[in-house]
Symmetry: D2
Subunit: 274 residues, 4 copies
């Protein structure tokens, strides 16, 4: 088959035929699209440095009850246009382009990706990269509703174990997950939210720790015992005090070193409803 | 240390001390508890046969603002009491026991487990087990709100590919996920909901297929092409017509054989709000 | 189509046609088959109690260079016959049946499943189930080669952190993985190998721990610090001293509470080659 | 604590103390290190373009029987030095640096990462990125042994289903995994091996397919039915004919659209032993 022959006899467009079931579809699109992306970072205060990572992406539109199907290939075409700059600022542009290309009133965009922050060890000052998971979700259906999620690893040390034991205290890695909506017009860097969150556990985790650093984190954790309940409360207090955040869900999952299951706590608050 | 000495000098109960942050906790408890469970099945109409499987379980209570911590070991103690019968009917009992033991007003229970249904091949009649994922979620906070989720594998065959191609049509495994709330007083067996759902794709999948069966499913899929949009619409129509269901979310994820990403569609409806 | 018509006109058997590429296939079969199984346990010394769990199963045979394909449905038929008793003793029977039904000289069988052991808390004596992953692998190609793998969670406490810190020591959950081949004629219960392995970390993990138990495990871990290197060496020493074991691979993966990556060590030994 | 005080009183180095168990350790190091990396690509024939991706990395050394522990932080320090250029050519340099810094005779390096290749749709010529998993493994223990693994998605269409059915044929996504060792001195780009592998299934998968493209891949798959056995045999034949490859393992896992389990086949060949 040649390209010419295709142009000559257009193939039928089944998707654009009608549908009689009278059932509108909330979301239809593509999931699990793995894609290299670039994100703007605050860099040295200029906001013009970029980080390269790999995102797993979901893209949806809504579909009226009387249209049979959407055109799946167009989601990928939009992604191809925009992947060089998928910072949170750019998502409304992508959503608008999706609505335009897919002829839909609503667009939904979800990006999950590992992110990396350079952290210095607390005593030696040695630098290393801390990796954690970030999600961006934009629902553009009437208004643009943006939710940012960070899942940040840290250390928790059990206050009960410390109190009742003659020496030692069980401690473990935990994952603090913070999901936020910002006040209108507010831009929040991943780095800024990370800075708030990582203070809320018993101590932080690091990529490179030399012996003086290891002494420091060990003692800091022991001086600062926190139940999973304490961690989510401290997260809540920190976000309560930040006017840029108008809604949040915070949780912590602690991979208990003395059990094969995890301890978990969760708090949700919507400041707008109060 | 001897048991006697422990009894003599009780260890401090840090969890029961107060908290001054004025932050109540929505959910606190244990996650990722892997446990063997037994579930009642309809069997041969008597409802007194059991299926053995392994669940991954989350258990939570709420915590008032002025209590420092919950008592995590009690969740496991409650689970130990009840794991022999964790059918959906039994969950309110477990939730009540959690509230009692944990001294909480609210209890949340989530079970995820593989389930197995004996299916006969369509022509040869050969029997095999089809496995799929089930979730039970009970939120007991004022009222008892129960949600059942089934994720059922099937086959989807693309109508566009069939229409435009001189022969063949791309098809693939898909996962249909159905999440339902039932009308008050209604009991719905997993088997009943499964029976509704598995009709909604291009054809069903089976564990054992002999050649005449393979011919049957191949031709049936080709005669019955469905977009991911068609599948969720047919799921919605089926659940619309069933008065036992008052709320649902339905979705299908199709592992497209011509792409390395998936096609997805989603519909939600709450009949109670209409 | 009726069953009669199928019997009347047999469908062609493409799999049994020849192949000219002159390439024999080492393994061909089915993977990721999820199936409920029963396993014999030592119980109270009689070996006639059973545990129910769910296995993920792979089944393969070899295929000579001149045969086009194997008959996949027969793997499932064999599994249907034998799933009620898939203890390690029964695997050679299953492998023989596979060879017979699939007309092959070699059969390979891999089962992965969660297993559960009742453990009593160290002070309170409270009972709970500890879950861990087990794998059975049988290669029946000339001889029957059986490998058993246990992945057992435990606690590790860092000797360096303890030594250099004024108080506390970082500790974390670890997974010890032990893969063994037994001397000819030796039967080893999962429970027996578990009993050896769980002694080799800083302390054990438990499902239910009351406060006196938590004090016990916290102090025991602190008194018994071990690097990941110490854990695998202690595993190696334990298996070196057991004449029932003729080959092993041991490893430990420690989910460091101070990092977002893991520490790992691995030792392999074949006593038969010495 | 100030940096000065640390310098003044060096902390004890527990790792460097002796060990009396007489058990050498094959591999000890760090696992699951997530890190942004850059890889050289052939680009437009110059080999001086780079691709950015995120790797999950394991790094090990061996440890003599009489040394208690390795120094884990040094693995991360080496990674920090080299992550800007982790193409396969650079791995021996990294391994040498590991041996030097960790004072070990052996070094092992494993990188797993998603990779992306720009592919044009077969008729429309539209461009899109195909993602797939790549692994680099270098064992530097005496000699440098490098193994490259590609796991490439494609489409398989069942010859039996096609033959016995009046119309249609079941097809599905499959993952072809190819693991190779190269002849001494040979450099093989990921792109080159990909080009060989993607020819071996019924047809290729693409990121963006317009209707004429979808017609093309549907018909191509139907014209080119292959069992999982055919796919691995065609992979074996292709690698048999390539003198740059001296050892390989090839497999295909087909996510059968008519079952909830997968079909799998595997071939291994070492040309050096013949």
């Amino acid at each position: 088959m040649t390209k010419a022959s295709i142009t000559a006899t257009p193939l039928p467009d089944i998707q654009s035929t009608g549908d009689r079931r009278k059932v509108a579809i909330n979301k239809v699109g593509v999931t699990n699209v793995r894609y290299p992306i670039s994100l703007r970072t605050p860099g040295k205060g200029q906001g013009n440095e970029f980080i390269h990572t790999v995102a797993t992406i979901n893209m949806f539109v809504s579909l009226p009850h009387d249209v049979k199907g959407t055109h799946m290939s167009r989601f990928l075409e939009v992604l191809n246009e925009y992947h060089e700059e998928l910072s949170s600022d750019a998502l409304p542009l992508v959503a608008n382009r999706m609505k335009e290309r897919l002829e839909s009133e609503d667009a939904y965009l979800e990006l999950n990706f590992p992110y990396f922050i350079d952290k210095q060890a607390p005593v030696s000052g040695q630098s290393g990269k801390l990796d954690f998971d970030v999600a961006f979700e934009l629902a553009s259906n009437g208004t643009d509703d943006f939710v940012m999620t960070l899942k940040i690893p840290a250390t928790s040390l059990c206050p009960c174990s410390k109190e009742i034991s003659d020496y030692g205290a069980h401690n473990q890695r935990c994952d603090m997950t913070v999901k936020v909506r910002m006040a209108e017009g507010v831009h929040l860097w991943i780095e800024e939210l990370f800075g708030i969150v990582e203070q809320c556990a018993s101590t932080q985790v690091f990529s490179v720790l030399k012996r003086p650093d290891e002494k420091w984190v060990t003692e800091r954790a022991y001086e600062n015992p926190k139940f999973v309940e304490d961690i989510v409360r401290d997260l809540a207090v920190a976000l309560n005090n930040d006017d840029r955040i108008v809604w949040y869900q915070v949780s912590s999952e602690n991979y208990e070193s003395i059990h094969n299951h995890n301890a978990y706590a969760f708090i949700e608050r919507d400041k707008r409803e109060e």
